[in-house]
């Protein structure tokens, strides 16, 4: 494979690690080296990996807050515009003014939750650039085990510090096994 693929563009270098603990330590070292375009792949989220990779907290919460606010405002206008202006429905002789606002709370709450949940659901996929049904990394056969019990670290060729030789040696040095260069397939 390598002889034929050598002419093709390098995508990056992949190394396998034996456990979550070794992957964690490797991530800390890759972070300290100053690499930027890299990622660790694991069958489950590893606790504390964001710090080990030097990543900040996901900004998804702020986006979801905006979604929730949209839901709240939608509910408020959906309820008040018809009930107070378009079709003021007098039930049990109760007023339609602002003092009846507690009776509007449940739907405001429900739509806030509904819109937030939709934002969370679509937000996580948009932030992750998914759905993307094919990715060049799937061509690397051992990577199939990442959803089972394998741990990988990938440094992309687009990283400014990337070098076919130095990065490869570095990953071997920090304990990576089967360190392999990934090439683009046609």
């Amino acid at each position: 494979m390598t002889a034929a693929a050598a002419r093709k563009k390098t995508l990056g270098v992949i190394a396998e690690f034996s456990s979550a603990a070794t992957l964690y330590q490797a991530a800390e070292q890759v972070r300290d080296k100053g690499y930027r375009f890299w990622d660790v792949h694991s069958p489950f989220p590893i606790h504390g990996m964001n710090q080990a990779m030097g990543l900040r907290k996901s900004p998804l919460g702020y986006i979801i807050f905006c979604g929730g606010l949209t839901g709240f405002l939608t509910a408020a206008s959906l309820e008040f515009i018809p009930s107070s202006f378009l079709y003021p429905l007098i039930v049990h002789g109760k007023p339609v003014n602002f003092f009846t606002v507690p009776a509007f709370f449940p739907i405001m709450f429900e739509l806030t939750v509904l819109f937030s949940a939709f934002t969370a659901f679509f937000g996580v996929f948009v932030m992750n650039r998914l759905p993307r049904l094919h990715h060049p990394i799937f061509d690397y056969e051992p990577f199939r085990r990442v959803t089972n019990d394998a741990f990988f670290l990938i440094i992309e060729a687009s990283d400014p510090r990337f070098s076919d030789t130095v990065t490869l040696e570095f990953l071997e040095e920090i304990g990576g096994k089967d360190v392999t260069l990934l090439y683009e397939h046609d």
Partner: protein
């Protein structure tokens, strides 16, 4: 275990270690093989037989619904004064069952109860199917079902808008939001496991379907970062949501004036009852699945034990609510309220109220004894009692309260017809059929989440010096 010799400075967790979540030092690949292997194996014969039975019951239930729609609600036993009978009883029964799934997936997640990982997937699926069964009833009980769209706030030629201050409309929003959010939460949790199914799939159809559903998940930490945040926030959103749904359902009754309905205790009482009935249904479904698919190392006796404790706790809350209702009826000095409760326990439907009390309050007390929490027969027996008892509770509250309200001249009895009975049986058929389809095609335990509770998932884990690593790193079976 030299606990007595250990000095007091030894941390509590070392003196009394927590029981492991997964027994027998199982490795990650063992878990994957066990759980992903279930949908991958050849469809077993029992599955065909069971789904033939449940599918037939479901089909007959659909026939009953169609018969109702083409004939009218007169085919049910509903009458005046009992305008809400089995239809709303079954609606509340099913929606209550759904609550356990969300409790396990959201509230226990926020409380960091790691044992939830073994049962959350199946419970969430159960939630969805229970809510589907529940949602059938409000749709069909209105009589002119083609007018159901009037519940939706859409501009129409009559310029009539729904009454946004009505608990019935709150219910429409609450239940539909609950279903939607549950689907999103369930699917988000399913994506990493669908990726596992994709990577293991051998058949072309399997590769295509699981590949499509997994959306190209790669398990990178840059993905997990957002995923975990979304999961946490969805759990945080679902927690007040699940409490609000059954509260809103209880408002349908509590905001009316019928004695026996008009009580402020209803929201917490309904929510506790919903979780109580839901846990019983989770165990009813999962105990057979555990035995059939040999999930004993993942879904252990410790899991069953804590679930029994939750049943005991919520059952006791429900028992407290029953007694408090009685006390308030006595102490409140409202003769109608007082009569409603005398009628409930000593009127013509006394057997329903006492069945409810026995099944929900008395029998779950068995779970104070550890031996009963760890015996398959007693656990299953209590769960079946709770399933029945919670149905009786809704029947007693809804239908029995309506039979005798203020004026003796407007009293009346209620008797179900065969259509009532078969529609209810049909919803059980729909529920179990969906669940069978789910366990056949989807990983019924959240593999990626179970792996996080293994000791070696901890980034600071050091394998024990003697022998431990070998058993953990056992090869692919």
């Amino acid at each position: 275990m030299a606990e007595t010799q250990a000095p007091a400075t030894v941390p509590f967790e070392e003196r009394l270690p927590r029981p492991p979540m997964v027994l027998n030092n199982r490795s990650m690949s063992w878990i994957t093989n066990l759980i992903a292997g279930i949908p991958e194996q050849k469809t077993p014969l029992w599955w065909y037989i069971t789904i033939a039975i449940t599918g037939s019951i479901a089909a007959f239930g659909v026939f009953c619904i169609l018969y109702l729609l083409f004939t009218g609600v007169g085919v049910w036993g509903n009458n005046i004064p009992v305008g809400w009978a089995w239809d709303i009883t079954n609606f509340v029964f099913w929606i209550g069952i759904g609550h356990a799934g969300t409790l396990i997936s959201a509230i226990l997640f926020l409380c960091r109860q790691k044992w939830r990982t073994s049962i959350n997937r199946a419970s969430e699926a159960m939630t969805l199917f229970a809510v589907i069964c529940a949602a059938i009833y409000p749709g069909i009980h209105v009589g002119r079902v083609w007018m159901v769209w009037f519940m939706a706030p859409v501009p129409n030629p009559n310029w009539i808008w729904p009454n946004f201050r009505s608990p019935l409309l709150w219910d429409v929003f609450a239940v539909s939001t609950y279903f939607t959010v549950s689907v999103l939460f369930w699917f988000l949790g399913l994506v990493p496991d669908l990726a596992t199914m994709r990577d293991r799939a051998r058949s072309k159809i399997g590769k295509f379907c699981y590949g499509l559903l997994a959306l190209g998940w790669r398990g990178g930490n840059r993905q997990w970062r957002h995923y975990e945040m979304a999961y946490l926030i969805l759990a945080g959103l679902s927690t007040p949501l699940v409490l609000s749904v059954h509260s809103t359902v209880s408002f349908d009754f509590a905001t009316s004036l019928i004695p026996g309905w008009h009580t402020t205790i209803f929201p917490p009482y309904f929510v506790a009852g919903a979780i109580f009935g839901g846990f019983a249904m989770v165990l009813t479904l999962m105990l057979p699945a555990r035995s059939i698919y040999k999930l004993h190392d993942v879904f252990t006796w410790n899991h069953i034990d804590v679930m029994c404790k939750i049943i005991l706790l919520t059952g006791s809350i429900v028992g407290y609510a029953y007694t408090m209702e009685l006390f308030v009826a006595f102490y409140g000095a409202n003769p109608f309220e007082r009569f409603a409760f005398i009628n409930r326990y000593f009127g013509p439907y006394w057997w329903a109220a006492w069945s409810m009390f026995t099944c929900n309050v008395v029998i779950p007390q068995l779970f104070w004894i550890r031996a009963f929490r760890r015996n398959l027969i007693t656990v299953f027996f209590v769960c079946m009692c709770v399933n029945a008892g919670m149905w009786y509770e809704r029947f007693v509250i809804i239908a029995v309260s309506l039979t005798r309200d203020f004026l003796p001249s407007s009293w009346g009895m209620y008797y179900p017809t065969w259509v009532d009975v078969m529609t209810f049986a049909g919803t059980f058929g729909i529920f179990t059929t969906f669940f069978l389809i789910f366990i056949r095609f989807f990983p019924m335990i959240a593999m990626s989440e179970v792996k996080t509770v293994l000791p070696e998932a901890d980034p600071h884990y050091h394998p024990p010096a003697i022998g431990g690593t070998e058993s953990i790193k056992e090869a692919h079976v």
